[in-house]
């Protein structure tokens, strides 16, 4: 393991170069470059290019790019009958999913934090949607939602909650809610894992101390659990917000934006414009609008994570 294998002294210039290359300050870059270069090429470049494309009209076939300024954005906000509806859907969809996923995740993680038998089994069952690709989730739920052969209608009619078959995904009144159920199903495991990890950092003694000091179940929840979950909770909420807002797969498979555009989300609108109508610049403009709306949650999330590290 000797480093003196080179007995012949290197020429002056090479010697200095070699010393410089093994310098402490440069070493990190040997490790980083293979990661950083692809990262820059594949995230920074597309991002900048995507923003640039939003100000152009781009033809996919002859690769003609014409700068059109803010034309796409003006067209989008003033002339496109779909845009405002899709934006509203996106907001309802995101807020609803984030709220419900968080509440379900909170209750589930609290229940899983109890030292009960079969806890491992229940944890596994709660996390299982994680391994299910969104496409498969969408297809399976599509069958469950089926008006004639679906399990949902059958079960609800058996209990007497509804008296006729409902086409959950085909009915304009229920389609958005039905797609939300599938997204919540897919996002719940993450919320459970995060909140459970947060709960497990709460020492049992704290609850005992609280109980001795006379705090009831609700009091302990309010003054011990909630503040301690604050940080993980924030991260879980921000991430769910970003993921839900960007979501594409399951809605595309479930409804494709229909019926009557009631489940049209911004991501679907952008996708259809780009790859069905080949309006690349216009589709990029929709993407840029999404990015602008996401800037706040992305900033908050990044700041939160960095703060935790430092």
């Amino acid at each position: 393991m000797s480093t003196k294998t080179l007995s012949v002294p290197l020429p002056e210039g090479l010697e200095r170069l070699s010393r410089r290359l093994s310098n402490r300050h440069i070493t990190p870059y040997y490790y980083l470059l293979p990661t950083v270069i692809p990262l820059l090429l594949l995230t920074v470049y597309p991002l900048l290019r995507g923003i640039y494309l939003a100000f152009t009209q781009y033809n996919l076939y002859n690769k003609d790019t014409t700068l059109v300024g803010t034309f796409n954005f003006i067209e989008l906000t003033t002339n496109d009958t779909l845009f405002w509806g899709a934006l509203a859907n996106n907001i309802i969809w995101t807020v609803g999913i984030v709220f419900i996923t968080y509440m379900l995740g909170l209750f589930t993680s609290i229940a899983l934090n109890e030292n009960i038998p079969l806890r491992g089994l229940f944890r596994g069952l709660a996390l299982i949607p994680w391994v299910c690709p969104a496409v498969v989730a969408a297809l399976t739920w599509r069958w469950i939602f089926d008006p004639h052969f679906g399990m949902l209608n059958y079960a609800l009619m058996e209990i007497g909650l509804i008296d006729r078959q409902i086409g959950w995904l085909g009915d304009k009144n229920t389609a958005l809610a039905a797609t939300m159920v599938v997204a919540i199903w897919k996002l719940l495991p993450f919320s459970v894992v995060m909140l459970l990890a947060g709960l497990q950092t709460v020492p049992e003694e704290l609850y005992e101390a609280g109980a001795i000091d006379g705090a009831g179940v609700l009091g302990r929840f309010r003054y011990i659990t909630v503040p301690l979950l604050n940080r993980v909770g924030k991260i879980a909420i921000l991430l769910t917000t970003i993921w839900a807002f960007n979501h594409f797969d399951s809605v595309y498979v479930l409804t494709g934006g229909g019926p009557g555009d009631t489940t049209m989300l911004l991501s679907i609108m952008s996708y259809l414009n780009a790859f069905r109508f080949f309006k690349i610049g216009y589709a990029s403009a929709v993407g840029v609008v999404m990015l602008i709306l996401l800037l706040l949650p992305i900033t908050l999330y990044t700041r939160q994570v960095l703060e935790d590290v430092e």
């Binding site: 209750f107 399976t140 469950i144 199903w185």
Partner: protein, 281 residues
């Protein structure tokens, strides 16, 4: 004391009741998928849905594996996901090690980028990547998808792994280096074995991304025989219609099984890796 026991009992009952409700919600679709994949046609189209088939049959699997390209899709997915995982492992281990162990300029901005990099709208990235990959003749190739997926896995994996590496004491390599190891030797012999659980989590994460992804694959792959499973199953539903639920569910089981096996083995690592950055315990 009696009151204490009673309270505890109430808590248990409440916990069980809730867990039963929520696991019905999360696990029912899986049960439905699994049992339906063994159903013959008459049991699929019944007014009263049948949960467990009375005469289970392998006909759906037989049909899917012999009459549809599902086997081909499976191999495509396996190839894409495996190469993505290997690439991601090498790249993230190097990057995360540097972020965890060295001080250098731009360290903070790189961190910011890693955290924020995974948050941008997928469609916004998809369009320029599609345009660029078209120019490079990488559309409709496995390589194109592998590049995109590796990119997708990189930022979060690197950050997650850095969090894990931070928990491995620096003295470990230092003492190995004092004993005469080079840094690379110290990493290979001493550091990596200790950091293995974190690396396993990254493997699972990268594999899952590549195995489940849909939107990019849908856009990039033109030839049917190059479809990965996620696009393949959707394509199959598109041409066969929803009348063949038994077949579709058999295909769905094929998609889920590898992920499920991975998950069962690596669940603990995945969870500790995911929460390492978020929870300081």
């Amino acid at each position: 004391m009696e009151q204490f026991v009673r309270r505890r009992l109430v808590r248990y009952v409440l916990a069980y009741a809730w867990l039963l409700i929520i696991s019905t919600f999360t696990a029912f679709p899986f049960l439905w998928m699994l049992t339906s994949s063994f159903k013959a046609r008459p049991e699929i189209f019944t007014r009263i849905p049948v949960l467990f088939p009375k005469e289970p049959t392998l006909a759906n699997y037989n049909y899917v594996l012999t009459e549809t390209p599902a086997g081909r899709y499976f191999l495509n997915s396996l190839y894409i996901a495996t190469v993505t995982t290997l690439l991601a492992l090498v790249l993230t281990t190097l990057g995360a090690y540097a972020l965890s162990r060295f001080q250098f300029r731009m360290r903070r901005s790189l961190g910011v980028w890693l955290i924020a990099g995974q948050m941008f709208p997928g469609v916004l990235m998809l369009i320029p990547l599609f345009v660029t990959l078209t120019r490079l003749n990488l559309v409709n190739t496995y390589a194109g998808l592998i590049i995109v997926y590796t990119m997708g896995a990189l930022p979060f994996s690197t950050w997650m792994l850095k969090g894990y590496f931070d928990t491995v004491p620096r003295e470990l390599e230092d003492s190995a280096m004092i004993d005469g190891c080079s840094r690379v030797g110290a990493i290979r012999r001493v550091f990596l074995p200790v950091a293995a659980p974190g690396i396993a989590a990254v493997a699972l994460f990268a594999f899952t991304i590549a195995w489940q992804e849909f939107m990019f694959a849908l856009t990039m792959m033109k030839d049917q025989e190059k479809y990965p499973l996620s696009v393949g199953i959707n394509f199959f539903v598109g041409i066969a219609g929803s009348v063949v639920w038994g077949n579709i569910m058999a295909m769905a089981v094929l998609i889920i099984v590898p992920g499920l096996i991975f998950f069962l083995f690596l669940q603990r690592y995945m969870i500790s890796g995911l929460t390492a950055g978020a929870v300081k315990g």
